[in-house]
């Protein structure tokens, strides 16, 4: 066996804490470590996992470490009515029956704590530093912003966690992404969404494959907790199953007083424990990437995967200049699907729809930033804008601050919480050929509806785009 470096990365430390049974030889091969899961989040898309349990006569081992939330296919308007889509309704009903049967807490559509699982978990303080968090959703990486080890799993693994509260896992490799600027700040109207897109453009959509990413550097230290969530959320778009940030005062301040966070002596114990959660000096990473963001500009995708992006001030690239024949083929495919010509300036591209929301950019800070841009302005004629808060708490908070009034006065639609146009499972869809500036995470073909064309952007770019009707940044708007 290889000598183990006694200096550990943050991800390795969290991993070590969760080993229930270390890997050992079984049938002539090494089995993976069996890891304990601190919190398991569920949504309505994994009913098959419960069927598996029933078939095998198994129970849910720890319903009180499990939380289900309706988010993926719920409508975002007329939520007081039964779900109109019979197939979606059957799936939500199945979740309700399963939670009832197995004793799992559930937040239903429209309830105070309902929302996208990755917005609700941190908001309730259910995700804390050093924890291992899983969910049957690839954007579980979001929770890594709090210094947790969090990753998405498939339905078979959901069933496994329900039955055993553990998962057998082969180890990840470690990747450091160090994000720096001279003063630790980002240029005006440049956000952690733009950092994520710039990183993916640099390393590719499989650049993080097999790795967990630790985000470090003075810029990361200066990001708010919500901005860190956006960054970690997009780790999967770089191919990394998990991304995390070492906890610091920003983290502790965010957590203090949240509903599921301890108080008194247990809080002090937790704080002591969290102080050890950082990568040791001298720990080794399998891959290191450095990103200097002094000159970073707002980013926007032009293609059908998140690495196919450029600066907003740039133009649609010519596939002829791709780095490899495979990339050229992908770029040609993408431009055909997107209906774009090489050389077209990004800022001249007209948009039909704007989507502000998702587990990437549906938090209160995202809505505040967009509302600031849209205050006393009107959405361009012909453009439809949907604003979908990431959770009902975010919705209530935004309404308390009057943000809904700003969006509504601008002519945007103000909706209830859910995944909405990020995933194309509800009625919130593009029609074929429609072009959307979206704060979500995936620009895959048909992701927002069959034939729909997605440009991924930050919330401030989404807001400015809604006003001008073409891809824009706030500086483009006249006073």
């Amino acid at each position: 066996m290889l000598a183990v470096n006694p200096r550990r990365t943050l991800a390795q430390k969290i991993w070590d804490r969760h080993v229930v049974v270390p890997g050992r030889e079984v049938g002539g091969v090494m089995s993976p470590d069996l890891l304990y899961v601190d919190v398991h989040l569920l949504h309505e898309l994994s009913p098959q996992a419960f069927d598996g349990l029933r078939l095998a006569g198994r129970r849910v081992r720890r319903p009180e470490l499990t939380l289900a939330i309706e988010d993926h296919n719920v409508p975002t308007k007329d939520i007081h009515l039964p779900i109109a889509d019979a197939v979606a309704r059957a799936q939500v009903d199945a979740l309700r029956r399963n939670c009832e049967h197995f004793g799992i807490p559930l937040f239903r559509m429209g309830e105070r704590e309902q929302g996208i699982v990755h917005v609700v978990g941190p908001q309730l303080g259910l995700t804390q530093p050093g924890m291992l968090v899983v969910c049957g959703d690839s954007h579980t990486a979001t929770h890594g912003a709090l210094g947790a080890f969090a990753f998405g799993i498939g339905t078979s693994e959901v069933e496994h966690v329900l039955a055993t509260q553990t998962l057998p896992m082969a180890p990840f490799r470690n990747m450091a992404v160090t994000i720096t600027s001279r003063d630790g700040r980002l240029p005006p109207n440049v956000t952690s969404k733009d950092i994520a897109l710039a990183l993916i453009a640099r390393v590719g959509v499989n650049g993080g494959q097999g790795h967990v990413i630790e985000y470090r550097g003075n810029v990361v230290r200066g990001l708010s907790m919500e901005a860190r969530m956006t960054l970690c959320n997009m780790s999967i778009e770089a191919g990394a199953r998990a991304g995390l940030v070492a906890p610091d005062e920003v983290t502790f301040e965010y957590l203090a007083g949240r509903p599921h966070v301890s108080t008194g002596a247990p809080w002090r114990q937790a704080r002591e424990n969290w102080a050890t959660l950082h990568t040791d000096t001298g720990a080794s990473f399998d891959r290191e990437v450095e990103l200097d963001v002094d000159l970073l500009e707002p980013m926007v995708t032009w293609g059908t995967d998140p690495s196919q992006c450029s600066t907003l001030s740039g133009a649609v690239p010519d596939p002829a200049f791709s780095a490899s024949p495979a990339q050229r083929l992908s770029a040609e495919h993408a431009l055909r699907y997107m209906g774009l010509e090489p050389g077209t300036m990004m800022r001249s591209i007209q948009i039909d729809r704007v989507f502000l929301g998702s587990c990437t950019n549906g938090r209160i800070e995202d809505l505040r930033a967009a509302a600031d841009v849209m205050r006393r302005r009107r959405v361009a004629p012909g453009v439809v804008m949907l604003v979908v808060p990431g959770s009902m708490r975010v919705k209530a908070q935004a309404e308390a601050e009057g943000l809904d009034a700003i969006f509504l006065a601008a002519g945007a639609q103000w909706r209830a919480a859910g995944c909405s146009m990020c995933v194309g499972l509800s009625a919130d869809l593009l029609v074929p050929g429609e072009r959307c500036a979206s704060t979500s995470n995936r620009n895959f073909e048909g992701r927002q509806g069959k034939g729909g064309r997605t440009h991924l952007v930050s919330p401030v770019v989404a807001a400015a785009t809604a006003i001008r009707g073409t891809l824009s940044r706030p500086e483009d708007l006249a006073d």
């Binding site: 091969v29 059957a90 259910l126």
Partner: protein, 199 residues
Amino acid sequence: MQAFETHRGIGVPLRRSNVDTDQIVAAQFLKRITRTGYDDALFYAWRQDAGFVLNQEPFRPGTVLVAGPNFGTGSSREHAVWALMDYGFRVVLSASFADIFRGNAGKSGLLAGQCGQADIEHLWAILEDRPGTEVDVDLVHRTVVADTFRCGFDIDEYTRWRLLEGLDDIGLSLRHTDAIAAYESARDTWLPTTAPVNR
């Protein structure tokens, strides 16, 4: 899970990189509550195009998919694996797989074999020159044979063993119930539960 040792079936060349799980099975099919019956959902949008490889006669009954690199990128939907299997695929060969897809494949009994890109290109050439060529995949010896071409493939040892034995992961982990209980009794008391709180 059905055990897997060897498989012989028609190879299907899919000359695309970064095939994401939204293309393998679109979101609209994720609302179903069953675990089977996704054969019609597989590559739904692409199959509307008469020129798509699975719409060409010799490839239609294919069972070994030979795809470009980073296959299965994107969402965690295990439906992507189920749809491939419901259609009839038992094997996907690619130069690389997205992590979650690879894990899901191993849990459901779909063999995700990693070959060098040069070997993939060679297989593409054979399958396109002689459509309908059958490919032999041997998990015991980790080999792929198509006509006179032969190459190896990689798969992690533990997944290979489980596939060969047809073993259910949950059953294996439940053998450790005592260790799980011991771990639980030592967990920190400040760790949260999901039990409702009124704050």
